[in-house]
């Protein structure tokens, strides 16, 4: 598998993935919310030219996808992979995305801003993700005249993104902090430090399967490196806490702890009907068991793969047709059983 999300990265017992996103706009076009259809097309063409034009360094490894030509399942599948935002998936006009072959890089076009460049890495790799994002940004800048102001930095449609235009985020798996209720304290501290905590799919979504996304809120007044290093240090502290509570919980009552994990594994590998919510919840327990060395015969890559496959659109995509919610729950259970079959 060459997709990044199947693989494991540094600190992947707690950190699922790292994402850096840059918001950029063209200087000479109105922002997408104020732009005409023709302008939208022109922006699309200019971005395509910047990436696929003659002599461009990266053209071979990228694909352009026209959001308008996709059916809802295809769009949603990209959202589930975090390659496009829910907003872009619902957009009515001139939305597009350029995706790298390994699905690490995606460049959303005509979302809230003309460009949203994002890089996704497995585990905790903020520096690596920023370096790559920065390179792509430099490359695009060779042909695109960005909206930039000496005083405010990069200009964006929403004043919350102005300045560096950077959003650095990490997806954390925090079952022990949730189990003990300590997560509340962590969330409070984060909000005091100007750090946003969200669910699995970013803005306005709920945390499912004990997954939390933390990201910077401030984008102006600090350098990119400062923003990244503050997210990094907070993440490291959360990792330490999560790890020590995992150990403590196991030490306090090993039988009960292992019972919970094995029950979840039992359900996952035998259920005939399962919702995505339940699957994510059970997967969280099994993931915990694998990383704590309680379950030894399941590869974590298989869990990463299931994590994506159980979600509605990717499930339907793998089957190759639209399914009703009831059919989905049956199919989902079947896919999980097959993946978890131990040889």
């Amino acid at each position: 598998m060459r997709e990044w999300y199947i693989k494991n990265g540094p600190e992947s017992d707690v950190v699922m993935s790292t994402r850096i996103r840059l918001a950029r706009n063209f200087n000479d076009f109105p922002f997408p919310s104020k732009m005409s259809r023709e302008d939208g097309e022109k922006v699309l063409d200019k971005v395509k030219e910047a990436i696929f034009g003659r002599g461009r360094a990266i053209s071979e490894n990228f694909q352009f996808e026209d959001i308008q030509k996709m059916d809802p399942i295809q769009r949603q599948a990209l959202v589930e992979k975090h390659l496009i935002s829910p907003d872009l998936a619902e957009s009515q006009a001139h939305g597009g995305v350029v995706i790298s072959d390994d699905e690490k890089i995606s460049i959303m076009i005509n979302e809230e801003d003309h460009l949203r460049i994002q890089c996704l890495f497995a585990g905790l790799q903020l520096k690596e993700a920023w370096d790559l994002c920065n390179k792509i940004d430099n490359l695009l800048e060779e042909t695109i005249d960005y909206a930039f102001d000496e005083r405010f930095g990069y200009l964006t449609c929403c004043p919350t993104n102005i300045g560096t235009g950077i959003r650095a985020s990490v997806m954390l798996h925090l079952p022990a902090l949730v189990m003990t209720g300590y997560i509340k304290g962590i969330l409070e501290i984060c909000s005091k430090l100007g750090i946003a905590v969200r669910g699995l799919y970013g803005e306005n979504t709920e945390a499912s399967g004990n997954m939390f996304q933390i990201s910077n809120q401030v984008s102006l007044g600090q350098t990119e490196d400062e923003i990244i290093s503050s997210i990094n240090s907070i993440t490291r502290q959360i990792i330490d806490q999560e790890r020590s509570i995992r150990k403590e919980l196991h030490k306090q009552n090993a039988y009960r702890f292992e019972d919970k994990i094995y029950r979840s594994l039992g359900l996952l590998s035998n259920a005939r009907i399962i919702s995505s919510e339940e699957a994510l919840k059970l997967l969280s327990d099994v993931r915990l068991g694998v990383y704590m060395g309680i379950i030894n015969d399941i590869n974590i890559n298989v869990l990463n793969e299931i994590q994506l496959l159980v979600q509605p659109a990717n499930l339907q995509k793998s089957v190759g047709r639209a399914l009703s919610p009831d059919e989905r729950d049956i199919k989902r259970a079947e896919v999980i059983r097959n993946k978890l079959k131990r040889n």
């Binding site: 706009n25 063209f26 200087n27 000479d28 076009f29 109105p30 922002f31 919310s33 104020k34 809230e112 920065n134 940004d137 430099n138 800048e141 005249d145 960005y146 909206a147 930039f148 102001d149 000496e150 005083r151 405010f152 930095g153 990069y154 200009l155 964006t156 449609c157 929403c158 004043p159 919350t160 102005i162 300045g163 560096t164 950077i166 100007g194 803005e203 306005n204 809120q217 401030v218 984008s219 102006l220 007044g221 600090q222 350098t223 990119e224 400062e226």
Partner: protein
């Protein structure tokens, strides 16, 4: 039950308003509920609602209506419109009413001095002006500390850079 406003369609939405501690309840159809501007039907509370809330309050009350509505000559977006939507129209809007955004930006970001990456196109001039700002801070400190010789050197450096940036 019929909609209390149009009296034609079936009421599906209960609209509760509390104004100055007086509670009023209206039963409306979806159409009329949409019409009720105050009721943002069908869309979750967004960041932009918050922003326009933060933005609107001090200005709406303290600045007279006529002198606050600046309009961007490029995209046609007015400052009032931004107050409603929380979204900027184009890069030129920041030139037209950027100053008015400063209090909001300060509330959102704290420090509003841009320190981040500079596109290579703008590199020369931005770097120069950053340098000048830095030297000016040093100059202020030197004067405070009564280090007049150092201050004179800094002043000359600043003059030198400023003449460069004006070329």
């Amino acid at each position: 039950m019929l909609c209390q406003k149009c009296q034609k369609r079936v009421a599906k939405v209960q609209l509760t308003q509390i104004i100055n501690n007086n509670k009023s309840v209206l039963f409306l159809c979806e159409y009329c509920a949409r019409e009720e501007e105050k009721y943002n039907f069908g869309s979750p509370f967004s960041i932009n609602d918050f922003l326009s809330g933060i933005m609107g309050f001090p200005y709406m009350t303290s600045v007279p209506q006529h002198n606050q509505n600046l309009i961007c000559d490029k995209c046609g977006m007015s400052y009032n419109e931004f107050n409603k939507t929380g979204k900027i129209g184009c890069s030129n809007c920041y030139k037209v009413y950027g100053d008015k955004l400063v209090p909001l930006l300060r509330r959102l970001h704290g420090n509003i001095q841009y320190n981040g990456k500079i596109p290579s196109r703008a590199f020369g001039s931005v770097k120069l002006s950053r340098e000048i700002t830095k030297l000016k801070e040093q100059l202020d400190a030197a004067i405070k500390n009564e280090e007049y010789e150092k201050a004179a050197v800094l002043r000359d450096q600043i003059r030198n850079l400023e003449s460069k940036s004006n070329k």
